[in-house]
Symmetry: C2
């Protein structure tokens, strides 16, 4: 057996690299950007008004009060997207709507709520007068050019994992595409003669297939593009044909089942024929067996990740080993995701000391103390997916230890 | 102004309800299930072996040791998906592979590692003998029928938000479809004469459009299906045409911009003509203005959510008000998402007491103490999206208060 950290290191070192692509900004959420994005112009590009109101020279308004307003002549209105055609001079003002460029000559904007226009007059028309009811501080109501982004500023550093607001930032600097590590196309191949896929009656020895939809959903959550490679029988020729076909379309192939040490594991047999595979016994419970290798695809190397077939093992294997590899290939600087020191609300025991670190499926809540609290789901066997499905995290319990209620335990949120 | 809680309550009460649909299990991740799912058969459906080994009568193995093995006659091999054609009797055994049905008569499985077959013999062939090197406890190596799911058991309760493992559970009980609240089709309409969408040169007064990609990504993260309705000018006829067209295809329309109190807000003008809209001034900073209403669509009522146009306001408005409404319509029992009592690593101030609760954009980390720690991003103005983009949470700072470094503060993770 090898330690989880060693298994992960070995796998990450073997992952093929993926060429970056330019994606439309609207399609790049959750991708990792490849190079710094530098603003070629300022945001906002010009001084503009942050309120609906009147652009003034602040000096004009010094004496303004509710009782003794200052009256200014209105030159007209400036909407967002239009421009004042003459400057504000003493005694004059432009009505301005939020986002409109600040007219030349103005150094403040008085909110409309602190003004009073003659009742019945066309608001903001040239020739009107407006009463300013309070003094304006120089700079009030103005967003300065470059106060969000300065020209030449790095708005997004290489390695940033894009969030929705980042897409907005890219838009604001005029970027329509962004260079990112693209989403991996990941084929999912489930194997087993015992699997029934149509939901029909089970014959003796048969079970319903359950891992494919789970793995495809996990891949979507990992920002990959899953491809359904179907369910293969344990026939070696069938398996090989499906794999060869998939290698033309996929960056990665995830298999489920057939990776244990049994003499008849067909995935093992086929993959060993197709390339050099690395069969690991990882010192974790569940999900001890894991296989990986890099096959020569028709256009590029294809990473194969062999997950165990037990549903819970498949899930845990994906979370702890496969997902970090996928994230690594997609440029994530932190492939392993966060961990939290949580409080065990109940004892987290383990059946036996077997030299493996147990990853118990736990349900978490955030307590009023600001801490994450966890309790184990009932049914921790590797075939008990129903119990595990209610879990939202894995709790790490070292070999030959029990975490007592109230003790701290390291927890990894499930994706 | 109205309090955030009141604004939310008013909006949720007005949301039209959406008919549930049956979705293929593989496409239902993150949806909320409508009705309890009850298992019509047990999982596993039959007793089966959890290891590769030999199915035995435990009584046969009581005296087995490394030095004095018990020799049993092999009846043949049972793979997963096949069935033994005769029972195990005293002195006999079936070789069994993981997942294979337990042959009748057997009450234990001895792991292959605790056996020894004659070198050179065909492993598991009828006529072979195997040496059992250790006693087996009755029940060892066996997963009992129903030990994951019992017949008649509720495997998923109504209201469950589906996770990948739940999809596996649905598969395991033979479900191919599941009744869920479907993903909302949400149109995104951005408005403003000042907006440039092609990334080209800006003329005076123009800015690059930035909210559309951001809102569409936020919608995907909220498990909705966004529809790009483009960027409308401030022309009322253009706006109305786009809205009427969208109402045939969308459950919800989200607009960005044109909802403040300015005299020339065209979104306001058009929507007021099309139906009864609710214009709110919410006591939060940023994102004070918010509008909503239910329009009569050609086939069903359409909810319109009017977000402010300032990028940061748009983001905060979506997170705090729009997203809960969408989640409510999609059947979420907890529409508001989690909050965490975090520790402010720096002072969280606010510019002025204005009767509004401030939601500062903060960057969070999980400390070695198991607590969430936050610090504000620099640039908290509502147009400073670049600064806000690095934030991953909102910190709630009540009116006229400053949270000092080291104090607790309530924090809401951004989606």
């Amino acid at each position: 057996m090898i330690e989880l950290a060693d298994a992960r290191r070995t796998l990450l070192a073997a992952c093929p690299s993926i060429a970056p692509v330019a994606l439309p900004v609207a399609r790049a959420d959750r991708c990792v950007i490849v190079a710094d994005v530098v603003a070629t112009h300022a945001v906002p590009p010009f001084d503009n008004t942050s309120v609906d109101g009147y652009a003034v020279q602040a000096a004009d308004t010094v004496t303004a009060t509710q009782d003794q307003p200052v009256h200014l002549d209105v030159l007209g209105s400036v909407l967002a997207g239009s421009v004042a055609d003459r400057p504000v001079e003493p005694g004059r003002t432009w009505k301005v709507m939020t986002g409109a460029p600040l007219p030349a000559g103005a150094d403040a904007v008085v909110m409309v709520e602190r003004t009073s226009a003659r009742a019945g007059s066309q608001l903001g028309a040239a020739g009107d007068q407006v009463a300013i009811l309070a003094p304006a501080r120089s700079g009030a109501g103005i967003r300065r050019a470059g106060s969000d982004v300065r020209t030449g500023e790095t708005v997004l550093a290489a390695g940033t994992v894009l969030r929705p607001a980042h897409l907005g930032v890219l838009g604001s600097v005029g970027a329509r595409e962004v260079l990112v590590y693209r989403r991996l196309r990941v084929g999912v191949l489930v194997t087993g003669d015992e699997l029934v896929t149509d939901g029909g009656e089970l014959r003796p020895g048969q079970i319903h297939e359950s891992n494919r939809a789970m793995l495809m959903a996990l891949l979507v959550r990992a920002n990959c593009e899953p491809m359904d490679l179907g369910v293969a029988s344990d026939d070696v020729a069938d398996l090989e044909q499906r794999l060869r076909h998939a290698m033309a379309a996929c960056d990665v192939i995830v298999t489920s089942g057939g990776v244990s040490m049994g003499d008849s594991d067909p995935v093992k047999a086929v993959l060993e024929r197709m390339g050099r595979l690395n069969w690991m016994q990882v010192a974790i419970r569940p999900a001890k067996p894991f296989a990986f290798g890099v096959l020569d695809g028709p256009s590029a190397p294809v990473l194969v990740l062999g997950l165990p077939g037990n549903p819970v093992s498949s899930l845990v294997s994906f979370e702890l080993i496969a997902r970090p590899a996928l994230r690594h290939m997609m440029g994530h600087v932190e492939p392993y995701g966060p961990s939290v020191l949580a409080i065990a609300d109940e004892q987290l025991g383990r059946p036996l000391a077997d030299g493996r670190t147990a990853f118990l499926r736990v349900l978490s809540r955030i307590g009023p103390d600001g801490r994450v609290h966890v309790r184990p789901v009932t049914g921790q066997d590797s075939h008990q997916l129903s119990a595990s499905a209610s879990a939202d995290a894995l709790a790490e319990v070292p070999d030959d230890r029990t975490v007592q209620a109230g003790e701290d335990v390291l927890v990894y949120p499930l994706s």
